[in-house]
């Protein structure tokens, strides 16, 4: 198994964190992982992206040319990376943020207004957890339980309410991913 993932969106949407949680979970499950961010003079509202690789074999290039999975949380990211998704690959796309969509018939779409759903759940800050859930629901590259354990260790003492909200968002994302 080898999954090459690109997550892209506006700075502040938590796209780097999506990659980080996926990589950490992959590592916890005994896989080889890498996490490579775009970096530079970026700011809230600018664009950001991350390449994450989860693999049974040692990872050669951490740079991803053709992702198996793309999480696109705004239109510029979808325009840039959408055409590079491997045929048969998965696109997780926030339809509210990507009004022009992507025309391809050789990939799987997990399309939902994720930002609006995040606000429904209680906070825009859980947008990235919804996206992680959608990836888990559609691809099984990592297990829900691994992320739950990681988040619990990180948030349970500090902010139990936020933990609940995040877990709720992941579960909702999984439902969307399974549709």
């Amino acid at each position: 198994m080898k999954a090459e993932i690109i997550c892209a969106g506006f700075g502040g949407q938590g796209v780097l964190t999506i990659g980080k949680f996926i990589a950490k979970a992959g590592m916890a499950e005994g896989k080889h992982v890498s996490w490579l961010p775009s970096y530079g003079p970026e700011m809230r509202g600018g664009t950001a992206n991350v390449s994450a690789v989860v693999s049974d074999e040692p990872i050669a290039s951490p740079i991803v040319s053709y992702p198996d999975i793309l999480v696109a949380l705004n239109q510029p990211s979808l325009d840039k990376f959408g055409p590079t998704i491997r045929p048969g690959g998965v696109l997780v796309v926030d339809t509210g943020m990507c009004p022009h969509g992507l025309k391809r018939d050789d990939i799987q779409f997990v399309a939902a207004p994720f930002s609006s759903i995040a606000v429904e759940i209680g906070s825009m800050r859980v947008l990235n957890m919804l996206a992680i859930g959608a990836v888990i629901g559609r691809t099984n590259i990592i297990k829900y339980e691994t992320i739950e354990e990681d988040l619990t260790a990180f948030l349970k003492a500090k902010n139990p309410d936020l933990l609940e909200q995040n877990l709720k968002a992941i579960k909702r994302g999984i439902e969307i991913g399974k549709l």
């Binding site: 992982v33 890498s34 996490w35 490579l36 990872i59 050669a60 290039s61 040319s65």
Partner: protein, 359 residues
Amino acid sequence: MTKVLMKGNEAVAEAAIRSGCRLYFAYPITPQSELIEYMAKMMPKVGGTFLQAESEVAAINMVYGAAGAGRRVMTSSSSPGISLKMEGISYIAGAQLPAVIINVQRGGPGLGDIQPGQSDYFQAVKGGGHGDYHLIVLAPSSVQEFADMAGEAFDLADKYRTAVMILADGMLGQMMEPVEFKPAKTAEEIEALNSQHHDWCICPNVEGPEHHHHEINSLEIDPSVLEQHVYNLYDNYATIEKNELRYESYNVSDDNEILCVAWGTASRIVKSAINELKVEGKSIGMIRPITVWPFPYQEIDAAIGKNVKKVYVFELNMGQMLDDVKIAVNGKVPVDFWGKVGGIVFTPAEIKTKLEECF
């Protein structure tokens, strides 16, 4: 030890502390700032000294002083900052002092940009500072290797009384991969490491016959004495070349039609292309120099199998290691080169296309 997911910059800093580094002097610069931040946070917790110098020049001279005291000391920077350190590095080489210098390279020349590059190869292995000297130069290609090299660099520096450079780049500094650390050295172990320098360091802090001061200097005004000193340095370099050469041989076999040579970050991307073409029945090998000084000249020559039509060098510069590869190949087969510059890292797809054109 369990694995932790860490950035290369943080992992190499943690590994340096575990290896007994208790003195670190530097000035911030992207893309290595997490390294200095980590040192600022962690050094006080282990009783070490972190000092943000007023400039790179000051930092390397603090390293010069601390190395003269026979302590494990490190500095780090990125390309433009390393240029500023070059005078001090030459002095450290002249005075035969152990020190570790990390260069997390970015695009150049000048201030360049802050994205990854490999364009400081010449500076690292062909001099950079003035005078006849070498640094041992280690080139990591993963976060784990970057971290492991911290301990190796200190050991090599101590063993040969020389400065060692770890030549990484912005990608290795910024990316996260799982890393497993070696156990941290105890206070007693660190003391033992320091005491091995008592026969030459400025002021061995011990009672008894070992307690006398030594003079440390890179100035020798008598030409015949300086001549002998340079010969002695080169005897030491010859021993290093004999003992410390390291390289990785990847997919090298008699079936190879192409032999690639790539180092650091670039080698990871070339590996991906080799793997993809292997599935299509195309046999390509790769030599990855792990020490870029000393350089594996004979090992590259020996890896050119009977079916190899071409040696292909890929670097994130305009062709610098290329010169050393040409010396190694010595006209046996054609040597080709392709690189990207400006902080742009080539992709596996681009390398694959370049290699496909050879068949």
